[in-house]
């Protein structure tokens, strides 16, 4: 029995050390590459770089505004820090990641989706694992602690014990870490300034009826984001990206709001009901640039 237990413990320890070594190495490669946005920011921009504005949001923020066009017209420098399949709590986390790493900007454009006007889900976002390489940072730890519901707290404990997180999110972390090792500059579906665009294909019904919603923006996370903006001398702008045949009327708010929810009903500008396509992006960016110019000067 003693021989058996000694052997099991010995080989378990060896195994654990090997697995931890691989896990730490994978996260190291991810942290020092550009595969996911959190790492992309730190490895492509320096804190003293002049960044005039950042865009936060989900896939709607990622695909609606083209920072390259905005910068060309306004002679500015902007970064799109939006991430697909995320909600307001992850946008806030990204913003904290930005400011806590010493980056500065003058304007924060928050692309707010209608499901986040009042509240945000209390569970971890689908893509929150992308911040694992920075899980030793207090703001990331705090986020995982607040939203992680699994019993093992895989992400919260991932700094000292990355095996569990890497095992659980193996597809999302291991292949990207291998790609990060081989091609550190490779970006996961976004261009050099963080944008992405959908193709000009038809996925929508042109017979859809126009839907009008009257909403107020009362989500407390926006207050939190705004407070951080004030602290860092950043102006917050809430941007409502276009919806196909959906008109969102917003009640008066203290925030600076650019409401393009109903800027166009042209089905040729939409990839689906909630995302514009390449042509749509050009159209909307042009309209946004005109409005944003007033905010800049």
């Amino acid at each position: 029995m003693k021989k058996f237990l000694r052997k099991i413990i010995f080989y378990s320890v060896i195994c654990l050390l090997l697995l931890e070594a691989i896990s730490f190495t994978s996260l190291y490669f991810l942290k020092n590459a550009s595969f996911y946005k959190p790492s992309y920011l730190l490895n492509n921009y320096k804190p003293n770089d002049e960044i005039d504005y950042i865009i936060l949001g989900s896939s709607r923020g990622l695909t609606t505004l083209n920072t390259n066009s905005i910068d060309k017209n306004l002679n500015t420098k902007g970064i799109n820090l939006s991430m697909d399949d995320t909600d307001l709590k992850t946008h806030l986390l990204m913003f904290k990641h930005f400011v806590n790493n010493g980056y500065k900007t003058k304007h924060c454009i928050l692309t707010l989706d209608k499901q986040n006007f009042k509240q945000t889900s209390k569970t971890l976002g689908n893509n929150d694992y992308r911040f694992i390489p920075f899980s030793n940072s207090y703001y990331v730890k705090e986020h995982y602690k607040s939203y992680e519901t699994n019993r093992l707290k895989l992400l919260y404990n991932s700094f000292w014990n990355p095996i569990l997180a890497l095992s659980y999110f193996n597809l999302e972390l291991l292949p990207p870490s291998i790609i990060s090792l081989l091609k550190p500059k490779f970006r996961n579906r976004f261009d050099t300034t963080g944008n992405y665009t959908y193709p000009n294909s038809k996925k929508i019904s042109i017979h859809k009826k126009i839907n009008t919603l009257n909403k107020t923006i009362t989500n407390p996370l926006i207050n939190e984001l705004n407070n951080i903006c004030i602290e860092h001398n950043i102006k917050l702008h809430i941007y409502i990206a276009p919806y196909y045949k959906k008109n969102i009327n917003l009640y008066k708010s203290n925030y600076s709001i650019i409401n393009h929810s109903n800027i166009t009903k042209n089905h040729l500008y939409f990839y689906d009901n909630i995302h514009v396509n390449k042509n749509g992006r050009e159209f909307v960016t042009e309209a946004f640039t005109k409005e944003f110019k007033k905010q800049l000067y």
Binding site: M1, F4, I8, L18, L152, L166, S167, Y168, L171, L174
Partner: protein
């Protein structure tokens, strides 16, 4: 409680420590611990299940003793039938009541006769198909004078509820397992090491192969009407490995766990996809069930020692019941019928010389795998209509959609599954050639398997074991 759960990670070491350190050399107390641990393990699903297994245990324990007390043939037969009716009755009620009601109604609806019926919201107790057959075999063996009944209720309860094999087998015979509860257990180093080796291999099959393939299989079967023939073929093949790795993985873990407590369980799978014909397949697949049906249904019906017609009838009955055992759905019965039809030609050609070349053997193996895989489509499909449609679209289809190419994630999962399956087959072919019936890897391979399991296992998309539903 699942083997791959946090609860089991805490439960098992506790039981192991108490068993070997606190209750060392105390057989009766160890048996009591097994009963308590097994009831906790089983009750974790639903505490109400415990009444059922306790009832089944008490009934068969008493009947076993009574069977031995009398020599009167009629009384013995009555007692045996009581045991059969109670065990099969329990199984029939919990598993098949709604099926019979629905089938009855559907049959009469063809003649435009409608009934108002009452189907019950019955929860199927996990493992009921396994432990009822196990306790039934106990009394059948006593009746046939193959076994003396036990007067040790705790040992018997431990035999019935032994947690490693309680919910998905192997279905143990009392002649094999029960005596192990009487003798003093001594920790056996080699046995324990082989147990750990088996468990690691079992977890690899379950977490890497079965759970990863299930993602693709579910996607293909749920959208089969829009899939191309290639996609449907891949779906069928992947399901063949999903069900094999899920079930044999569980068996390996169960057998491995039992060895850690100095128990020896029977081999349940012996590389079935290396079979050269259906007859060999059924000697290698779910061995505990197929031998159960052979000993308690096929042979009592006359087996093959009767006229050819009766023998064929017996084969048919066994396969249909075997299919039906798996679940309350016509698809399982049809699956059984298909296997009966595939088995019959092999049965009829028995005795003929079999001197095949290597290439012929390979072709026979591939052909056997092919026909078994097509039969699995019926096993997996939700209903007969879906099974027939799937099979016909497999051979005649203009769709171009290939499910695993739809997203990068699915492509990666499919690649992981394919590589893992190739690793499985290579290992099995190697061990089969050496005449071994189980895979006990060396240290280097075990490290590799652990690495693969930890980093390529489908932990996020894990499923419970398929055979739990039976």
């Amino acid at each position: 409680m699942l083997f791959n759960s946090i609860e089991f990670l805490i439960f098992f070491p506790l039981v192991f420590i108490i068993y070997w350190f606190v209750l060392k050399n105390k057989t009766k107390q160890q048996n009591l611990l097994i009963v308590i641990a097994s009831y906790i393990f089983y009750g974790w699903w639903d505490w109400r299940f415990l009444f059922l297994i306790f009832f089944s245990t008490v009934v068969d324990f008493i009947i076993g003793i009574q069977l031995n007390k009398t020599d009167k043939k009629t009384l013995r037969l009555q007692l045996l039938w009581t045991s059969i009716i109670i065990n099969i009755g329990l199984l029939g009620f919990f598993k098949y009541y709604n099926f019979f009601v629905d089938s009855f109604v559907e049959a009469f609806s063809f003649m435009n006769i409608t009934f108002s019926t009452y189907t019950l919201n019955i929860i199927l107790p996990v493992g009921i198909s396994f432990y009822t057959f196990q306790t039934l075999s106990y009394n059948l063996d006593i009746y046939k004078n193959k076994l003396k009944p036990t007067h040790d209720f705790i040992a018997f309860a431990a035999f019935v509820s032994f947690f490693p094999q309680l919910v998905a087998g192997p279905i143990e015979r009392a002649t094999h397992l029960l005596p192990q509860f009487y003798k003093q257990r001594k920790f056996n180093y080699q046995q324990a090491i082989s147990g750990v080796q088996l468990m690691i291999w079992g977890f690899f099959k379950k977490i890497v192969i079965a759970d990863n393939t299930s993602i693709i299989v579910d996607g293909i079967f749920n959208n089969y009407e829009s899939q191309s023939s290639i996609s449907l073929a891949i779906g069928a093949v992947l399901f063949a490995f999903q069900i094999y790795c899920d079930f044999s993985g569980y068996s390996d873990i169960a057998i491995g766990l039992a060895r850690l407590f100095n128990f020896d369980l029977m081999t349940n799978f012996r590389f079935p996809y290396l079979s050269k014909d259906i007859s060999e397949f059924w000697k290698r697949w779910h061995i505990s069930l197929s031998t159960w049906f052979k000993d308690y249904v096929y042979i009592p019906l006359g087996g093959s020692k009767v006229s050819k017609t009766i023998a064929l009838r017996n084969i048919f009955i066994v396969f249909v019941i075997s299919g039906f055992w798996h679940g309350a759905n016509w698809t399982y019965i049809i699956w059984g019928v298909i296997h009966a039809l595939l088995y019959i030609p092999v049965f009829l050609s028995k005795g003929k010389p079999n001197n095949n070349s290597k290439i012929k053997n390979i072709l026979k193996t591939l052909f056997t795998f092919l026909i078994v895989t097509i039969a699995w489509v019926f096993f997996r499909a939700k209903n007969i209509h879906e099974a027939i449609n799937y099979t016909s679209l497999l051979f005649n289809n203009n769709n171009k959609n290939i499910y695993f190419l739809n997203t990068k994630k699915h492509l990666i999962i499919t690649l992981i599954s394919v590589v893992a399956i190739l690793l499985l087959l290579t290992t099995e072919i190697y061990y089969n050639k050496k005449g071994k019936s189980e895979i006990l890897l060396n240290k280097k391979m075990l490290f590799l398997i652990i690495l693969i399991t930890v980093f390529l296992g489908a932990f996020k998309n894990h499923n419970s074991f398929i055979y739990f539903q039976f």
